[in-house]
Amino acid sequence: MDAPATPARESLRDWLQAPTANSPRQARAQVVWRGWLRLISNRAALAGLVVLALLVALAAVGPWLTPYSALGQDLGTRLQPPSALHWLGTDDLGRDILTRILHGARITLMMALLVAAIAGPVGLAVGATAGYLGGWFDIVSMRLVDIFLSFPSLILALAFVAALGPGIENAVIAISLSAWPPIARLARAEALTVRKSDYIAAARLQGASSMRLILKHVMPICLPSVVVRVTLNMAGIILTAAGLGFLGLGAQPPSPEWGAMLASGRQFMLTSWWLAATPGAAIMLVSLSFNLLGDGLRDVLDPRND
């Protein structure tokens, strides 16, 4: 290692580990740094994080890693078992499965992130507001949540997709609609525990408006458990997305979405196991790593574990 790099790194480490911070930036960086240390000291969380990071990297560059096209058909090489040419074999239309899995990773991750980006903030906002304000807003929004929660989420998503029409965008909307209510309920429970607390009362005495209290005081308290919940829900979101694809209501052929691949591989389950097994394994791997990461995040973020 070259000499100049070491002192710089040492000083960054000192800066992060200094017992007292001297600027807001340093104080915030120290909080993030300590959380990061705790996260990576949890082996399962680290494993989940590594797998997810690999997957994101593969999804980003994967299409350039294989010589095949995800959609190009070659009926001469259909249903080939895994070999040196086709590492994970080919499907019933002669398409390379590894290539399709890599392309499908983009779709799956994009869907999961979009759902999280819609359902997370919506659930957080509704739940924190309902929990803090109480009154009619709480009653109306929580009865709405009750209605949503009284259906199994896949059935609800199916109903929305049936109404909106099949397709990835509609699948994202449908899954988001079925994913926000549990998050809202969770955020409301957290908000209820803090609405009577002294620090909220103190902020009210400083003239803070309800809007400000919800955004700057209640939401930061709800946020950790919501982040953990969303991360743990990612597995369910991916399974729902794959389920919709499997039932033909999500991504449409020839899109290399994992659920749709699983569905088309089902017909060849007995003769060509790799058609269904590979997308199935991919779904399992991503779900598992999201679950592991979520568990680790819970250990890091949950104040009850301090």
Binding site: A21, P24, A27, Y199, A202, Q206, P303
Partner: protein, 254 residues
């Protein structure tokens, strides 16, 4: 007597309604002059903290009047009111937002009221309560109880109020730390001519801080006396005598 800074007239506060309702404060009256330190003493559950929460408007369903400089306090309380009256809470472990940097907590009133020179004001407020400016970059869990309570005092004083309500400001602190916080409060009152209303169950703390004392039990103010009367044990009410005797016994036991 000139117009008092703070006056409570026939203040009654009850929790719940009908037969299950509890009358927490029963027709309380007192006046606090400008620059005076007024103490309310009583055992737990006597309703003394509830009076403070009613004054600040945190309990909004009270009967009776709260007057600031002879004017009725607006209901609900508005920003002008909070610029005049601030409160320090009992438990410094729960009165600071656990996930916000001290700087963010102190910045809040400055943002809400659109005040200028924010960093300078925060540094000044911290030094007023005896903390170095670097404490602004800490989180509450990095501070001791005494330091947290000093931060809470600094927060209450950032808006430069004239009346400060103190809800047992030292009861959650070690005895060794209590004196430090009380001295800071005393010095600030003298330097700025603040009006204090202090609630406590500790006679020694109230005697150290206040010039006039109201004794509360079961939601009623049973006696009002000066600190000299208290020291000379010229209490008329039997309850006050019991309280003084109990406190002396505790002091001797220490």
């Amino acid at each position: 007597m000139s117009i008092p800074s703070l006056e409570i007239k026939n203040l009654s506060i009850s929790f719940g309604v009908g037969r299950s309702g509890v009358l927490a404060v029963d027709r309380a009256n007192f006046r606090v002059g400008s620059g005076e330190a007024f103490g309310i003493i009583g055992e737990s559950g006597s309703g003394k903290s509830t009076i403070l929460r009613a004054i600040t408007g945190l309990h909004d369903n009270y009967d009776g009047d709260v007057l600031i400089d002879g004017q009725m306090a607006p209901r609900p309380r508005n920003r002008d009111f909070f610029k005049t009256v601030q409160m320090v809470f009992q438990d410094p472990y729960s009165s600071l937002h656990p996930r916000r940097m001290i700087r963010a907590t102190l910045m809040e009133p400055l943002e809400i009221y659109g005040l200028d020179r924010r960093d300078a004001r925060i540094a000044q407020a911290l030094s007023d309560v005896g903390l170095a400016p670097e404490y602004a970059y800490r989180y509450p869990h990095q501070l001791s109880g005494g330091q947290r309570q000093r931060v809470a005092v600094a927060r209450a004083l950032l808006l430069e109020p004239r009346i400060l309500l103190l809800d047992e400001p030292t009861s959650a602190l070690d005895v060794s730390v209590q004196a430090g916080v009380l001295n800071v409060l005393n010095a600030l009152r003298r330097a700025r001519g603040l009006t204090y209303v202090m609630v406590s169950h500790d006679l020694r703390v109230v005697a150290h801080m206040c010039s006039r004392i109201a004794v509360m039990t079961h939601g009623r103010i049973v006696e009002e006396l000066s600190v000299e009367d208290l020291r000379a044990q010229r209490a008329e009410e039997p309850y006050t005598r019991t309280l003084i005797a109990a406190s002396r016994a505790a002091v001797t036991a220490d």
